[in-house]
Symmetry: C2
Subunit: 369 residues, 2 copies
């Protein structure tokens, strides 16, 4: 029986939990489990549903509660994690508590290079605005120094790098700055809307309605090794896609590192030798599979959403216009929940093959070449 | 591609959550998801690990927090559940809060018979003793009246029925009493240690080291239709097996009901017509697959446990005898965590085929024949 599982991997996943739908750990846990990872989910909030509904109920874990759950693991020797994936935390103190967990796990692993790897999704905002308190930003900036891979979106990359991304060359500058400022060896900037950027250099424009994902693993001199993958954008917004990306990346990176060479798994931060070309990086090879799985699942989600919305609405008569609008909004939001479980085969078996391109030197700003 | 998924089923799962290992919802959620069920997990406790470690950290949800999470679902129209699976709740008030959720979902479904089904695992104790507060028992007794299927173990069946189970005939009496007292149409008593019971009548004894699972769906006159499945017992205790049983039962019962007849799905409480023999009941057919999956996974868990324990222990020298004993206990408990994720194929594809037997009339006490 072909099982299509990645090598055995124990993951500590620290993020939010919702009862209904799939975001945060409620997305990441099943995604990684489907690929064969043993996932310990430490939930930072307990909400009824994601905040895109514009209403929810539930509670947030305090920094102390997060710390105590981890102490509970420590006291019973339950900290044999290969990877930590940390996502949304509900306050600056919570970000610091999660950071302390990562740092402690790193310390426990310091005599075995490569035995622990920390993927950090710096959840701070999107589309030009923060959706966390201002004090969360410095908390992340302190923490990221310890991470092995970070997964900011375009806005978060701007916040972290201090570089306003308006073109391909400023994008390269932002990644270079992130490598340098935070000594973080791997970066992926998810969903850059490259069409909106003013084009520079000779980089071929992707076809219309494509999203671009840019990643890099540093060389030993700290310089970036940039790769780029263009994927067709779907005309819809789905909550939890960042969490799906992160979870798939954990599993596929682990797989690609194991496949790359017997030594890489035992190399600090899984940084490939300098002679590995950008498009052959395990990070690039992993990202291809990640985006393929996501594309298949989101395509099917969009079809299911359209079918659900086409079905007759069961709205009561006699509602005010305002109430009717609210009910319709809730219905549309629910219909857009990612159809994860029934499409799990696409997690295990990515079908589409997107092309990865090295981001060539001549496309970079002169001072980075 | 053969996907081996059960018909689409939306489940509200109300039980405990642990960061590490697999018990409560941390078992049930992945089990049901693996079979294609869309699971909304409402967590009643947030612990670092299961209590079998004899130490843990974390928090319990209050009855009010449980109620509010459900209200969060209600206000956004996120209550389209086909099944509720309710398990451990940390207090009598919490049991009542969970009960109120089940009753509300039943009320929402009252115009569509069979559109909502409630599986209740009355988690109260085991091996002759309660591990919940005394006031939890009357809270369950009130709630069970509303459930469609309950899954007590032998001890819980005694508590609920008031019948001390010392023989096969008292076992039949207990099930009959549960049907009658609580009007609950389906019952499975999980893991009866039948060898310890004094045998009565002509029932063939199962081979040594077998566990017996007994179930029943009432006829229209309230009489039981008893079936029995003997499975080889594994010489090991694993936490979370009750939750695995419950979760698999949800998925497989739904599948068996759909397979049985087009009408059954739209019949209140999915009770088969009187002419369906005990061993042909969807409940019996479902239980065969449930026990097969469990047997394969627990067999592999035992192998993995033995391999893990055979590996050198990394105990520090210089520990006191007491501390050494504690560390060894923790190590053994961790090694016995169910190996769920890497064996998910056995959830989807049960291999072993156990035999179901009708429990014949002549095996029952005279007044039940």
């Amino acid at each position: 029986m072909t099982e299509l599982l990645v090598p055995e991997t124990r993951v500590l996943a620290v993020a939010s939990h919702v009862v209904y739908g799939h975001v945060g750990n409620t997305m990441a846990e099943f995604v990684m489990q489907s690929l064969g990872c043993e996932v310990a989910a430490l939930n930072t909030v307990h909400f009824s549903n994601h905040t895109g509904y514009r209403q929810f109920k539930g509670t947030r874990a305090t920094a102390q509660e997060i710390t105590e759950l981890y102490q509970g693991l420590c006291q019973s020797n339950l900290t044999d994690f290969d990877v930590m994936l940390s996502g949304y935390a509900p306050s600056a103190a919570a970000v610091e508590a999660v950071g302390a967990i990562g740092i402690d796990l790193q310390k426990k692993a310091e005599n075995k290079p490569g035995s622990f790897f920390w993927v950090l999704d710096p959840v701070m905002g999107d589309q030009g605005r923060l959706y966390v308190n201002d004090d969360v930003v410095p908390a992340y900036k302190k923490t990221i120094h310890h991470a092995d891979l970070i997964l900011p979106n375009q806005f978060e990359a701007e916040v972290l790098s201090g570089v306003k991304i308006t073109s391909l060359s400023t994008l390269a500058e932002a990644i270079t700055a992130i490598h340098r400022i935070y000594s973080v060896p791997h970066v992926i900037i998810t969903s850059v809307q490259i069409l909106k950027l003013s084009q520079s250099g000779s980089t071929p424009s992707p076809p219309e309605n494509y999203l671009t994902v840019i990643g890099s693993t540093t060389r030993s001199d700290g310089s970036p090794r940039l790769f780029r993958i263009d994927v067709p954008a779907l005309d819809c917004f789905f909550s939890g896609t960042g969490d799906m990306f992160a979870a798939l990346t954990v599993a596929r990176l682990r797989e690609a590192v194991d496949a790359a060479s017997p030594d890489l798994r035992n190399t600090a931060s899984w940084v490939s030798p300098d002679d590995v070309e950008p498009s052959n990086l395990p990070l690039a090879q992993a990202t291809i599979k990640v985006l393929s799985s996501m594309h298949s699942i989101l395509e099917r989600t969009m079809e299911a959403r359209d079918a659900e919305l086409a079905a007759a609405s069961s709205l009561d008569g006699g509602l005010t216009a305002e109430e009717q609008e609210k009910q319709e909004y809730l219905r549309r939001t629910k219909a857009a929940e990612v159809r994860l479980v029934r499409n799990a085969r696409f997690l295990r078996d990515p079908l589409v093959q997107f092309a990865v391109q090295e981001w060539r030197k001549e496309d970079m700003p002169t001072h980075l070449q």
